[in-house]
């Protein structure tokens, strides 16, 4: 198990956005979290990645080859250092930086150079910088973005921006990649290539993937297990086939009446 979330609760004032969520992800798995709008999926993501401090509950990670560790309420950059990387629902690239620089920022947490190194530019710093540029370029190559190396991120086509976000997340060398609606706003063709990319990455990078998604066809084809949330609560979990026919899920998505009519 690479990620184990136990009884996670998040309150905003009187509003309980996430209510005693339990969730786990095994090594190499692709797991999806789905649910109607406002179900608390992104809040859940933010709690796991440290952007929010959960009210209660525990998040434990077990990176391959390392000790089990509780990361609840660690600061976000610490969590990223531990090997959890994420993308955002509404693209959050560094708009005015080039593609390569975006990826280099992702690699930043694996670098050593400090302020003195920056000023004196000793050999170690120079070598590290060169290696950094090289590695970042390799990552862009892997995701297929080399055309735009020196292009400012905001000028990229939409699909490429989404992919660049994934590239940037990969650059942090994660063992678990969290994707927040990676296919939002993509056309069917872009979505298909995204599915391919995610599948490929799982094998080549040896990572587990946890995604939030609205696109049902993508979720059903891609994920091995699905968790369903509604009003902050976990209402169902299981294999795609089971979820598809689960009356509780259908009710949550389509409303009570549809079920009654059917």
């Amino acid at each position: 198990m690479v990620l184990d979330v136990h009884d996670l609760t998040m309150d905003f004032g009187g509003l309980r956005a996430v209510d005693h969520m339990n969730l786990n992800i095994n090594e190499g798995e692709i797991v999806a979290l789905i649910g109607p709008n406002g179900a608390g999926k992104t809040t859940f993501f933010n709690c796991v990645t440290g952007l929010y401090k959960p009210t209660a509950g525990a998040v434990t990670i077990h990176a391959p080859g390392r000790e089990e560790e509780t990361i609840t309420a660690l600061r976000p950059h610490k969590i990223t250092e531990r090997g959890l990387a994420r993308t955002f629902q509404n693209i959050r690239l560094f708009q005015n930086m080039t593609c390569l620089e975006n990826v280099m920022i992702g690699r930043d947490c694996r670098l050593q150079a400090g302020i003195l190194g920056a000023i004196f530019r000793n050999r170690r710093t120079r070598e590290e910088e060169e290696k950094d540029i090289h590695d970042s370029y390799e990552i862009l190559k892997k995701i297929g973005l080399t055309r735009w190396v020196n292009e400012v991120a905001k000028n990229l086509p939409y699909g490429a921006q989404r992919r660049l976000e994934i590239a940037r997340a990969l650059a942090t060398e994660p063992f678990l990649l969290l994707l927040d609606e990676p296919a939002a706003g993509m056309n069917p063709q872009e979505t298909r290539s995204l599915v391919e990319l995610i599948r490929r990455l799982r094998h080549t990078e040896d990572i587990s993937i946890f995604l939030i998604e609205h696109d049902m066809s993508l979720v059903m084809t891609l994920s091995e297990r699905i968790y369903v949330m509604d009003y902050g609560k976990l209402i169902a979990q299981g294999k795609p086939e089971e979820i598809k026919h689960d009356p509780v899920v259908i009710k949550a998505y389509l409303g009570e009446d549809v079920l009654a009519e059917a």
Partner: protein, 425 residues
């Protein structure tokens, strides 16, 4: 082309300006003879003037919209002959040969300056150079770190009082005070930085503004510590192994020290900007949430930016105290912070040559505009407004660095080779 609509619009503008300036341009009360003079002919001048300016304004806006924005970050070699003039000029200037030569010319001019000009000119140039360093320092905080700081001058005050007080009580000399002042500036930066880490934008601006004022008011009222509004006098000028110098000599000497510090600052800031930490700052400025999610400790990065920016202010504070030999809290008002801020914004945020040009323009222009004494600030304001409309990025805008790749060129040549063989078949 000039459309009828535009003419109508400009006519309206002219009418409006006539109305606005009516009280000051037309009516004149002669208090001696107790009569009101009506200078109707002035209306004509105002109307014509504002009409022409309005047309010009519209034309320039149109030009700006037409030129559009270049998309790609280009390397020097990629700039073609049909690129806009500014682009070609930049390419030409960044050519190593041209650049080295211009550096040499600037170096010679800088060294020769105090010998060919009067002491008054040298004095102005010292001030301008000090603002260059201050601008570069504030540029780290604002231009690179993206934190609006309106209390920057407080760090400057810290440096100045460090030297003045250390000298008064312990006889510390200039050269020892210089690093101490810089270090204390940096420490002060961190102390102020810690509580404001969570703040952004307007809130940060207000807090730093308040901080700047607090420092000034404390210095003004804590008599036993800082000698209050009377300030501290008789601060020694920078020494040179105990050599006695006349005033002009001391001035020239100070000039060279400041030039040295400017070069040092440019060197360090340039290195910082192009390093890992510079990249972190950039990302932090763009989106701090994404930045944290990418594993960057933004608290550390922010504190580093504030401290490294404040260091230069502390250092220049020491130089300021040594140059004027007298300091009091009146030298460290908000106005000073605003001027430094203007040098950064006017010159081009985040751009080192931009800030240098900005500081020179901003300090030297008012000096040479003294001929227009009464309108000095008005002109100055007008120049700032025009700048912000037509070149919001500053005089010299920051450029993104473009990387070249061996692998990339190899790939593309392979593709090209493949295509050409394909054509032959």
């Amino acid at each position: 082309m000039i459309s009828l609509q535009q003419i109508k619009k400009s006519a309206l503008v002219a009418l409006w300006f006539v109305f606005l300036t009516f009280p000051i341009m037309v009516i004149r009360v002669n208090t001696i003879e107790d009569v009101v003079q009506w200078r109707w002919y002035n209306i004509l001048w105002v109307a014509i003037g504002s009409f022409v300016l309005s047309m010009l304004w519209a034309y320039m806006l149109e030009q700006r919209a037409k030129s559009g924005r270049r998309r790609k970050v280009v390397t020097r070699k990629e700039v073609t002959a049909d690129a806009p003039l500014s682009e070609r000029l930049r390419a030409r200037l960044t050519e190593p040969r041209v650049r080295n030569r211009s550096f040499i010319v600037i170096g010679i001019l800088a060294v020769a300056y105090p010998f060919v000009t009067s002491m008054y000119q040298t004095n102005i140039m010292i001030t301008a150079m000090m603002y260059v360093v201050l601008g570069l320092g504030l540029n780290i905080i604002i231009g690179l770190g993206g934190m609006l700081n309106l209390g920057y001058i407080a760090f400057y005050a810290v440096g100045a009082y460090t030297y003045a007080l250390l000298n008064l009580h312990f006889g510390v000399n200039f050269w020892l005070a210089l690093p101490i002042g810089a270090a204390l500036g940096g420490v002060m930066g961190i102390l102020v930085g810690i509580p404001v880490l969570r703040l952004r934008g307007d809130y940060l601006a207000i807090v730093t503004l308040g901080f700047g004022e607090i420092v000034r008011i404390v210095l003004e009222n804590w008599n036993s510590f800082s000698n209050g509004p009377q300030g501290i006098a008789n601060i020694p000028r920078p020494g040179f192994f105990g050599v006695k110098m006349t005033l002009p000599q001391a001035m020239d000497y100070t000039y060279f020290i400041v030039i040295g510090l400017v070069v040092f600052t440019i060197f360090v800031v340039n290195r910082l900007e192009k390093s890992r930490i510079g990249r972190q700052w950039e990302a932090m400025k763009e989106d701090d949430i994404a930045c944290q999610a990418m594993g960057i400790d933004i608290r550390k990065a922010k504190l580093a930016a504030i401290a490294l920016g404040a260091v230069w202010a502390g250092m220049m504070g020491v130089v300021f105290a040594a140059k004027t030999t007298f300091i009091n809290p009146a030298s460290f008002t908000v106005w000073e912070s605003i001027i430094v801020l203007c040098t950064v914004v006017l010159g081009g945020m985040g751009s080192i040559p931009g800030v240098i040009v900005g500081a020179l323009v901003l300090i030297l222009l008012p000096e040479y505009l003294r001929a227009f004494a009464d309108f000095r600030l008005l002109l100055f304001g007008a120049i700032l407004v025009i700048m912000m409309v037509f070149r919001p990025g500053g005089i010299i805008q920051k450029r993104r660095k473009a990387y070249t790749f061996e692998t990339q060129t190899a790939d593309s040549s392979a593709v090209a080779a493949g295509q050409s063989t394909g054509e032959h078949e």
